[in-house]
């Protein structure tokens, strides 16, 4: 689409002009029916004599009543493929059983998320929150056009008409027309009608707030081919890539003789960042990759680095007051407030690197044209925008020459949202070299060794208290590897040193603390880093919520009451904390502790979603093994579009947080990642599960995020329970059994 056309497209209240076919309609991935059946991925959603009418860039209505709605967000398990189009369907008053959903083609001007820079990028749990008003507006406009057309046909005022799912009704005359029938004769206006959206009202919702079932579930339980790794193309061959062990240490000497001797190997390709092999089967490609002998450049920042060296260096910076960071949040004057505080309190918290461990190892499929001037890709990406741009850049061709097939994502957690989408460029470079379609699959070992991690952290917190023990000043200094400049240099350039991936969560808007400063310093260690589920919030909330508990403990105050008092400006937050405490039976703490168990609490305001958690925990002193028996969690994310999915996402983010809290650690030695697979990177399994009790507290606030919000609460809730139980404070994630054991031994009770 030309720019002039694009601008025209975007005129009007919500940027809508009728009557223009959506660009690339028919591109994109699978078409899913509301009943979950996998339909053929064809532009025409209907058969026989049915005729599709493009109502706007989001909605196509067929004369047989089928409604096709575009889904702009990646589906990586969070359910946006259902919940975002459902918002439109609700406002349009569509019949859900007639709805089909298609992945929207890459086109930021139409499908970009206003909450994330206007690009197509699924991250930060902002799909529903970012698209909500837009979806309502487009849905309302389609409904208005259908009503107007029915009014004209019947010669009655539009104000006399109402709708029921899929139908326009005229009560006075008893007449009705289905949406499909109207599609057959509808005249679409040149400009979108201006609709003033009704205030959010539970009684008006027909789909929002009522669980319809996720559209992708039926296919997924049948093993349907929905991921890029499932793609099969005629003439396709297979690629595997041996990557540089340290970022920037490209290959210097390559001995490929043994690799080429393996039957089925077609070619060995030298890359800037490693060596690729192409073979007639994945197994041959993997074997050949292992048979490569490569020497790497010694000129890379990461060589020599280790967790221990990093933590020591970061702690030195954190404790050196002359080294000030870039301010992330500033309220009042924290230094002055600390000066005049009745007392001050200071603690340091740490975290090791953590790995995404999404179940689908990174992969992609590409088919580059013989001249190298066009390319089709199949990938699971968190950003259609970044994927297309990275591929175009790799081939030196315009983005318009890249066709993206947006597949479902077998786990993202931030790993599939980096600007360079290196795992997609892999197959493009291999396909160009091979002159045919190539599927490149990372093994699990590739995925771990070349992981991009949640960074190493040292958080130093300092609080000033008044004479009654209330916190009046809050100074949070974060030292971590740089993340944003590595994962997204474009955004980093505009960020003025504010590394949002590392720093998010140091802001604490709900706690009523007048003087606050959060500042960050982010050295370039050469280690690959990335957003990882809950980004910086995962560690910064751990630091915040442990710190508050430590202060409350020092003053012998109840940690729940202490938080509720600090949240005195935020009734939603107070309610969330009180409800979680009530669910957990906070009052029985004393009795529980006599039985060797304790409760710990944590609270968060995560981009406007309020959550509280209580964990019931015990510890086996001999081994240091921490057992989490039960977790209660309350969440207020405003309007819960699909409440059961909010529960599911909260359960899932708790399980994710459990691993980060207790067992998941990446260690680096001489710049190289030491772990390689699930036997040395231990993620939660079924036997590790506590009983999880989630309560969604829906309010009529604009919906906020639900996809990862509980993750950051798990570690502090556990650490706070452990401190209550044993008097020992764990201040580093993960709280590995050996660390717990050592910490307990240091203060072992005299027998």
């Amino acid at each position: 689409m030309h720019d002039a056309q694009r601008r025209r497209f975007m005129t009007g209240t919500a940027g809508l002009t009728f009557g223009i076919a959506a660009s690339g309609f028919g591109a994109g991935g699978a078409l899913l029916a509301a009943d979950g059946a996998l339909a053929q991925p064809q532009p025409q959603p209907t058969a026989g004599s049915a005729r599709p009418r493009v109502m706007n860039p989001w909605v196509t209505l067929s004369t047989d009543g089928t409604v096709t709605i575009m889904s702009p967000a990646a589906e990586m398990g969070q359910g946006s493929l259902t919940s975002v189009p459902l918002i439109l369907a609700d406002e349009m008053d569509a019949e859900w059983s007639r709805v089909r959903i298609m992945h929207a083609p890459p086109d930021d001007a139409i499908y970009g998320n206003p909450r994330i820079g206007g690009v197509m990028y699924t991250a930060g749990s902002v799909a529903v929150t970012g698209y909500f008003t837009m979806m309502r507006q487009f849905g309302a406009q389609v409904r208005a056009v259908l009503v107007d057309n029915a009014a004209t046909r019947w010669g009655v005022p539009a104000g006399e008409l109402t709708t029921q799912p899929g139908r326009v009704l005229h009560a006075a005359s008893g007449r009705s027309l289905s949406y499909g029938e109207i599609a057959g004769f509808a005249v679409l206006p040149e400009r979108a009608p201006q609709i003033a959206l009704e205030p959010l009202d539970r009684a008006r919702f027909r789909l929002i707030g009522r669980d319809v079932g996720r559209i992708d579930v039926p296919g997924k339980v049948r093993g349907a081919p929905v991921y890029s790794t499932d793609v099969q193309l005629p003439g396709m061959v297979y690629g595997a890539i041996l990557r540089e062990p340290v970022e920037g240490a490209g290959p210097t000497v390559i001995d490929e003789r043994a690799a080429r001797a393996i039957e089925g190997v077609i070619d060995v390709v030298r890359l800037r960042y490693g060596v690729g092999v192409i073979a007639d089967a994945p197994w041959a490609a993997f074997k050949a990759k292992q048979a490569l002998r490569v020497e790497w450049s010694s000129k890379a920042t990461g060589w020599g680095f280790s967790n221990e060296k990093g933590l020591a260096a970061f702690a030195a910076i954190a404790n050196d007051d002359s080294q000030q960071g870039v301010a992330w949040e500033t309220e009042g004057n924290v230094r002055a407030a600390l000066q005049k505080a009745a007392s001050t309190f200071e603690r340091e918290y740490r975290a090791d690197y953590a790995y995404h461990a999404q179940m689908e190892p990174l992969n992609s499929v590409a088919s580059v044209s013989p001249k190298g001037d066009a390319c089709e890709i199949w990938c699971g990406t968190q950003s259609q925008t970044f994927a297309v741009a990275a591929v175009a850049n790799a081939l030196g061709i315009p983005a318009s020459r890249v066709k993206l097939n947006d597949m479902m994502v077998g786990g993202g957690f931030g790993r599939r949202g980096n600007r360079d989408t290196e795992f997609i460029v892999d197959s493009v470079l291999m396909s160009r070299a091979a002159g045919r379609p190539v599927k490149v699959t990372w093994t699990r070992e590739d995925d771990v060794k070349n992981g991009r991690f949640r960074p190493l952290y040292v958080n130093r917190l300092r609080a000033g208290l008044d004479s009654r023990g209330r916190i009046t000043a809050w100074h949070h200094k974060v030292v971590s590897d740089r993340v944003l400049p590595f994962m997204d240099p474009v955004r980093a350039k505009a960020s003025k040193g504010r590394d949002n991936i590392a720093m998010r969560g140091t802001e604490i808007p709900s706690y009523n603390i007048p003087d606050r400063l959060a500042e960050g310093l982010h050295p370039d260690t050469g280690i690959r880093t990335s957003a990882l589920r809950a980004i910086g919030v995962g560690q910064n909330c751990f630091a915040n919520e442990c710190f508050i508990d430590e202060i409350a403990g020092e003053r012998r105050l109840d940690p729940v009451a202490y938080r509720v008092a600090l949240l005195d400006r935020e009734p939603r937050a107070q309610r969330i904390v009180r409800e979680a405490a009530a669910m957990a039976g906070w009052a029985r703490r004393g009795t529980l502790e006599k039985q060797g168990r304790a409760l710990g609490v944590a609270y968060i305001d995560y981009t406007g979603s309020h959550l509280a958690m209580v964990a019931e925990v015990s510890v086996e002193r001999a081994s240091g093994n921490v057992k989490v028996h039960r977790i209660w969690c309350t969440i207020d994310c405003g309007v819960a579009v699909q409440p059961d999915n909010v529960v599911a996402q909260t359960e899932g983010s708790i399980v994710y947080g459990l691993g980060l809290a207790l067992t998941e650690r990446i260690t680096v030695a001489d710049g190289r990642v030491e772990q390689s697979n699930f036997f040395d990177y231990r993620v939660p399994r079924m036997a590790d599960m506590p009983e999880i009790i989630v309560r969604v507290i829906p309010t009529l606030n604009h919906p906020t995020g639900a996809g990862q919000m509980a993750t950051p609460l798990v570690a502090p809730a556990i650490a706070n329970a452990l401190a209550s139980l044993t008097g020992v404070r764990l201040r580093q994630q993960p709280m590995l059994a050996e660390r717990v054991k050592v910490a307990l031994a240091e203060v072992a009770p005299v027998a």
């Binding site: 579930v217 089967a281 197994w283 041959a284 179940m359 957690f413 697979n677 079924m686």
Partner: protein, 155 residues
């Protein structure tokens, strides 16, 4: 001179002949030769269970069984679990809205099918122990347990 071997095996009730390097795991033959992509690659070392299929009626790791050892064996994949995708476990998985990203779920269902074959009405502890080899990174474990209980109840 090719090192590849020809192997006859029965997959989802159909006799198939495949050719591959002898150490090729069954997983890659299923996925890329036979185009049965519902069986998924997660770790390649029997640590995650995403590739779980039934070999001669028992849950097993497709990533650990070389094709050379598959001569005459019988394999069932998620595509062959039921004729119409409506196995009681699959119905229960939908009813409990288990999958999120969904990538591990074929393996979870195939493993759970092994459990229900052996034990019609498993206790919760038996479910947890039996399902321990299978990782779900989205954390759908609580729903997997509920779905297995439902399938065992509703058959």
């Amino acid at each position: 001179m090719s090192d590849k071997v020809s192997v006859n095996l029965t997959v989802n009730g159909t006799s198939r002949t495949v050719r591959a390097l002898p150490d090729t795991p069954l997983l890659w033959v299923l996925r890329e030769e036979l185009k049965l992509t519902g069986t998924r690659f997660g770790c390649g070392v029997g640590q995650c269970g995403a590739c779980t299929v039934h070999i001669d009626g028992q849950p097993n790791y497709a990533c650990l069984n070389p094709i050379s050892a598959m001569q005459g064996r019988t394999v069932t994949t998620i595509e062959g679990l039921s004729p119409d995708g409506n196995h009681p476990l699959q119905r229960a998985w939908v009813a409990e809205q288990v999958p999120q990203c969904g990538y591990c779920q074929s393996g979870q269902i195939m493993r759970a099918a092994g459990l229900l074959q052996a034990t019609r009405r498993p206790w919760r502890d038996e479910i947890v122990t039996y399902m321990q080899p299978n990782i779900c990174r989205c954390g759908t474990y609580p729903r997997i347990v509920r779905a297995i209980e439902r399938a065992s109840r509703e058959g």
